[in-house]
């Protein structure tokens, strides 16, 4: 197996343009001018910082109302979960399922998996490397879908205004929820998946590394 990591040859691949170069003496890609490092700088600390901030905001995002509906029948506060329940009861169970997955399952899954990945990297685990690499790839792809509810609220607020029988205003839960989505995306970007493979290369016999 030619498992030679670029870092062993003193080179690093540019994460922007893909060119292999040396980050020493200047940590700048020669072709595109992005910053070039062997591993993303302070990746574990930055991932933890974004993750903890996302966890903190997760509670208000789910407990505070995302929409406040005022009509002649009274005022109704809706959280993310009550929106899912409303859709389910009104018979649109497919849409309800999509909203549930995008707004509840994906953010939780993303936060927990990323926490697991950071801990596994800090403990330098050597097992399940391939699975962890795939997990990270999935996380990066699905995180954006949590923005769904933010767009739903935007359209509802714009359409159901004073001229109609009811008005919908955004609740402070939207702000917290949008922040959770952004922070979890930033956390995934700050994490360096190459760290998953690093402990593996260090346990390899020396003759493989020429």
């Amino acid at each position: 197996m030619s498992g030679l990591q670029a870092i062993r040859t003193g080179t690093a691949t540019c994460l922007t343009c893909g060119m292999l170069g040396s980050p020493i003496p200047r940590p700048v890609c020669k072709r595109c001018g992005s910053s070039l490092h062997f591993r993303k700088p302070n990746n574990i600390q930055r991932t933890w910082a974004y993750l903890i901030a996302a966890y903190v905001l997760y509670l208000p995002a789910n407990l505070l109302p995302i929409t406040i509906t005022r009509s002649i029948f009274g005022t109704q506060h809706d959280t993310i979960m009550s929106g899912v329940v409303y859709l389910w009861h009104s018979g649109s169970w497919a849409i309800s399922l999509i909203v549930f997955i995008a707004s509840v399952v994906v953010p939780l899954l993303k936060l927990f998996s990323l926490t697991l990945l950071v801990i596994s990297v800090q403990r330098r685990w050597c097992g399940e490397v391939m699975r962890r690499a795939k997990l990270y790839r999935i996380l990066e792809a699905i995180g954006r879908w949590s923005m769904l509810d933010v767009y739903v609220v935007t359209i509802l607020v714009a359409l159901v205004r004073a001229e109609s029988l009811a008005t919908i205003s955004p609740g402070s839960g939207v702000l917290a929820f949008a922040a959770v989505v952004i922070l979890s995306m930033l956390a995934a970007m700050a994490f360096d998946p190459r760290l998953i493979w690093d402990p593996l290369d260090e346990t390899q016999p020396k003759e493989n590394v020429k």
Binding site: A6, R31, L148, D149, Y151, V152, T154, L159, E163, A178
Partner: protein, 207 residues
Amino acid sequence: MTSRSAPKQTLQTATACPECDLLVDGTTNSGHCSRCGARLYRQGRHSLDNTLALACSALVLLIAANAFPIVGLDIQGQRIETTVIGAAVSLWREEMGMVAILVLLSTTVLPLIELAGLVWMALPLRLGKRPPGFSWVFRVLHMAHPWAMIEVFIMGLLVALVKLTNVADVFAGAAAWCFGCVMLLLAILHTIVEPRDLWQAWEEAEQ
């Protein structure tokens, strides 16, 4: 460190997997990392003509998507319509400025930057010239890409429509279809625009 003894030529054709740091040969590889399976580049070269054609049409559609209303509501003969910018403005008025900016950036500004940047890079390259500020534009596009979320916005539009059908007559505006087409064109663009080929064209082009 063995870097000093390695010949320079191998360093230029070789690349390293961005996800596991494995050194791979950039010419004979299948396009995927042999260790972790990450996609390194796409096989088969697409012409800059395709990129240009798709990006230009998406750009026109995206401008139309912002000029026309996306959704409308019909309550007892009274029609209420909104554009994306109008929706962001109503969020802003409700003291949700941050969310309004986020919505505007992810549905309009960043896709616009992405498409305009592609045309900016591909048009001079097609004519055999190096576009001014190529590496800067390339970096901006790379940063903007994860935050442009038109496909999620379309899904949000659908959910909002379903929610409102129980209350009033709703209809999708012209912009909804424009956004749908932009989404499809962007999806095709992402499968044919290969950064490696762009840089190769840049290296071949005259300064």
